[in-house]
């Protein structure tokens, strides 16, 4: 690895500059006002002193040696440029231009003409220091050259944040031959991202800030070798959870519709009702009909009183965040009391029928048993009387015989 050096430029404030020796020193495009530090590393050396000095500022620099993209053998001298910390007032552009022209000219004069190709940075007011107290979110995706499916990561965001997206690509081939691009949706982003290579892993990092709903969406990193490998970060506002099943109520009843989301703090909640497709805001002034409340910030409750059949339909709840809106719906069904009453009366009639059958059967069998018993009684009485008759007959025959025998 002798003679190879690391060329990269770390920029604060979300800029990155790729520097390639061998490219013609083209015209320098300057639209920036932040600090630029360029440095070259001797092979295997650690971060240079200037880098360490620069690291006290809120910027990152890739650590460790890396392969240079140029074919230059001779080490180049170190150059550091003072980075202007986001000035409170825009510096006069001509002054900045002069600075860099001077720098470029110096480098050229040294006979080491590594042209600095500055990619443009949009001059956004959002990059001002007043946003230095919002949070930083970092997300990573790892890809290999054998990934079959595009890798996606879903990120939920409610408040404006600084975002840092990193994609790493592992390949067995040549890291230099990989073409790296970033896109938002389908639109290619300008080259204000960092590329770094360590061994056989290629890192790229894109930093930006999300302030409003226009910056939400899908951001993708692409690694082009033979096949294109893609990693996507999807930014969304938190989703709401209403009820999946319809809510069944009765006329004259009152009910509570709840919408909630996990760990979210919307700025505002609103409710709409819809019959087919048109969403109509609810008349919240009717205090005896609708009451909107919420115990915690992450839920809203709509209480509807004195329900009637016209209140049937879909109710939509909207949660409004700084970075967008999300909605969900709840179905309300209002039934009249006659609906369950019909099966109730049917079952009650069936029970009455059953009881009547059981009691009638029992009475019938008892009567039959009584008549049977009665017949038995008669038969026994008959036998008894026959018996007594028989005995009397015998006695009379005896007497007859006796009297006849004398």
């Amino acid at each position: 690895m002798g003679g190879r050096a690391q060329f990269w430029v770390g920029l604060g404030c979300g800029e990155s500059v790729s520097r390639e020796q061998g490219r013609a020193a083209g015209p320098l495009l300057l639209r920036l006002f932040s600090r630029v530090a360029s440095l070259e590393l001797a092979s295997g050396a650690g971060p240079p002193a200037s880098m360490r000095r620069d690291s006290r500022h809120r910027h990152w620099f890739a650590e460790g040696p890396a392969l240079v993209r140029t074919a230059a053998d001779s080490p180049t001298t170190m150059r550091t440029f003072p980075c202007l910390r986001g000035p409170p007032a825009r510096p006069p552009l001509p002054l900045v231009l002069l600075c860099f022209l001077a720098a470029a000219r110096t480098s050229l004069a040294d006979g080491h003409p590594p042209a600095l190709t500055f990619t443009s940075l949009p001059a956004q007011e959002e990059m001002l220091a007043k946003y230095s107290n919002i949070s930083l979110e970092s997300h990573n995706i790892s890809l290999t050259e054998h990934s079959d499916v595009p890798v996606e990561k879903n990120i939920t965001l409610q408040r404006p944040s600084n975002i840092e997206l990193t994609c790493q690509f592992t390949t067995s081939g040549d890291v230099h031959s990989v073409n790296v691009t970033w896109k938002k949706g389908d639109e290619q982003l300008e080259n204000n991202y960092l590329i770094n290579a360590t061994g056989s892993i290629l890192y790229t990092r894109y930093m930006f800030t999300i302030i409003n709903s226009e910056q939400m969406g899908s951001y993708s990193c692409f690694f082009q070798e033979e096949k294109e490998q893609r990693g996507t970060f999807n930014f969304k506002v938190p989703e709401l959870h209403g009820k999946n099943k319809p809510l069944i109520t009765y006329v004259g009843d009152s009910t509570v519709l709840i919408c909630k989301c996990e760990e979210c703090f919307p700025l505002n909640w609103t409710w709409y009702s819809s019959n087919e497709s048109v969403q109509v805001p609810l008349d919240v002034q009717m205090k005896d009909k609708y009451v909107i409340s919420g115990k915690h910030a992450n839920e809203t409750r709509l209480k509807i009183m004195h329900l009637s059949e016209e209140d049937q339909g879909s109710y939509w709840c909207h949660a409004i965040f700084q970075l967008g809106e999300s909605e969900d719906h709840v179905e309300l069904v209002v039934l009249s009391y006659l609906v369950p009453l019909k099966p109730f009366l049917a079952i009650a009639a069936e029970v009455v029928l059953l009881v009547t059958i059981i009691l009638l059967c029992e009475m019938y069998f008892q009567k039959k048993k009584h008549t049977d018993d009665g017949k038995e009684f008669e038969q026994i009485e008959q036998l008894k009387s026959d018996d007594s008759n028989g005995i009397e007959n015998n006695a009379s025959r005896h007497r007859k015989n006796e009297s006849a025998g004398q």
């Binding site: 109730f344 059953l354 029992e362």
Partner: protein, 424 residues
């Protein structure tokens, strides 16, 4: 109706088994499946789950405490009118509950009114059933009590379906309609006069006898101890499994397996109780001891196979002890006093049931896992089986105890009624 010397052991008795089957299904099946309504009540009344679960607790407590009242009334009027009146009360309670506007409404209508209705139906039906059988009593009891297990399977999805179609108000209305079938069950309870009935006296006399009867008191104490430990696993098994790291779906599956083995245990024990010539009290002691042992072993088991085996064993043995527990009573106090006896037993053992669940919950909170509560439950069951050993005729092999009691009663009190035909 002729006075019989012996219970018929068949004939109309099988219709009474059918009536008792549907009746235990409609009372305890409904109570066990009522949990599906809780979610709806929590949302509709905006109350906490703990307050909503008081509804079934009050219902069960009223049913058990009111058992003596039901028993006393059945002794006087016969089971049929009492059960039919109770059925109408239970159904009325559910009907009124469908119009509820607050949780207190539900406490009063389902808890109090339906609870009273259930008190008037459950105990008299079981007592009537035991009067109809003597040799096949355990089998008849076992078959009748399977109603509880089967209905828990059927009612939970049925109630869910009702809730999704009619909301909770309509569902309560239809459950009230289902409960009306208790009236039909009551109609099937044809009164039976046994020769020993006239010797037993009215409810007051029976109560006095029972409260001084040593074996009966010991039996009541044993059943109370058993009741304290019996319900604990039903309440805490799922939580214990989740503590061990089980997912909700396999845990629910294990509960279903336990329920199936419970069902099998009831029928097998019923058949066994009649087939084996031992005194029934011995079988009860055996099943109770086995249940206690299986409960106490629960905390020791960690592997899934061991847990499944223990759960099946617990289900089988705990199901097995229920029909036998009810069969012991007629042998102790005689068929004539069965109504009062059963009522008293239910009332006293409910204290055990009420104490058991909070005690184990308290142990869980203090120790941090369910080991202590399972072991204590097992200990209660073993203590109950120990008390059962002191029952009379335990060590002898005679099975004609009921006849001895009848002869004893008849000798001391009223002379035999004249043999007549068609005397009602």
């Amino acid at each position: 109706m002729a006075r019989r010397a012996e219970p018929p052991d068949g004939g109309w008795g099988w219709m009474v088994v059918l009536a008792a089957f549907f009746q235990s299904a409609l009372v305890f099946g409904v109570l066990r499946s009522f949990g599906v309504f809780f979610v709806e009540f929590v949302a509709a009344f905006e109350e906490q789950a703990a307050r909503v679960s008081w509804i079934t607790s009050i219902g069960i407590a009223v049913q058990q405490f009111g058992s003596p009242v039901g028993s006393a009334l059945s002794t006087k009027f016969g089971p049929r009118p009492v059960v039919m009146a109770g059925a109408i009360l239970a159904s009325l309670g559910m009907l009124l509950a469908s119009f509820a506007t607050s949780l207190t409404h539900l406490y009063l209508s389902i808890g109090l009114l339906s609870g009273c209705g259930w008190a008037l139906t459950f105990t008299p039906t079981l007592a009537c059933l035991s009067r109809y059988f003597s040799r096949r009593r355990s089998l008849a009891m076992g078959l009748a009590l399977t109603g509880v297990g089967l209905s828990s399977f059927a009612f939970a999805p049925l109630f869910q379906w009702l809730l999704s179609h009619y909301g909770w108000r309509g569902a309560l209305l239809l459950v009230s309609a289902f409960s009306l079938h208790l009236v039909a069950c009551g109609a099937l309870l044809r009164p039976l006069s046994l020769t020993e009935d006239s010797a037993m006296g009215g409810p007051g006399a029976q109560l006095a006898f029972l409260l001084c009867h040593g074996p009966f008191l010991r039996y009541t104490v044993a059943l109370t101890l058993i009741n304290t430990g019996y319900f604990i696993p039903y309440v805490h098994l799922v939580a214990h499994l989740q503590d061990l790291g089980w997912d909700p779906l396999p845990a629910a599956f294990l509960l279903s397996v336990t329920a199936i083995s419970d069902l099998t245990g009831r029928v097998v024990s019923g058949w066994l109780g009649d087939a084996v010539p031992w005194p029934v009290a011995r079988l009860l002691t055996l099943w109770t001891a086995l249940t206690g042992v299986s409960l106490a072993l629960f905390p020791v088991a960690q592997a899934p196979t061991a847990l499944v085996t223990l759960a099946v064993a617990y289900g089988f043995t705990s199901g097995a002890l229920t029909p036998v527990a009810f069969s012991v009573l007629p042998d102790l106090v005689g068929n004539g006093r069965i109504y009062c006896g059963l009522g008293l037993v239910q009332m006293v053992e409910s204290i055990g049931g009420l104490l058991g669940a909070p005690l184990s919950g308290y142990l869980r909170d203090v120790t941090g896992n369910y080991t202590a509560s399972f072991v204590v439950a097992g200990a209660f069951l073993l203590a109950g089986s120990g008390v059962l050993i002191t029952l009379p005729h335990f060590c002898s092999s005679s099975t004609s105890k009921s006849q001895d009691l009848v002869i004893e009663a008849l000798d001391t009190k009223i002379p035999l009624p004249k043999e007549g035909l068609g005397e009602d």
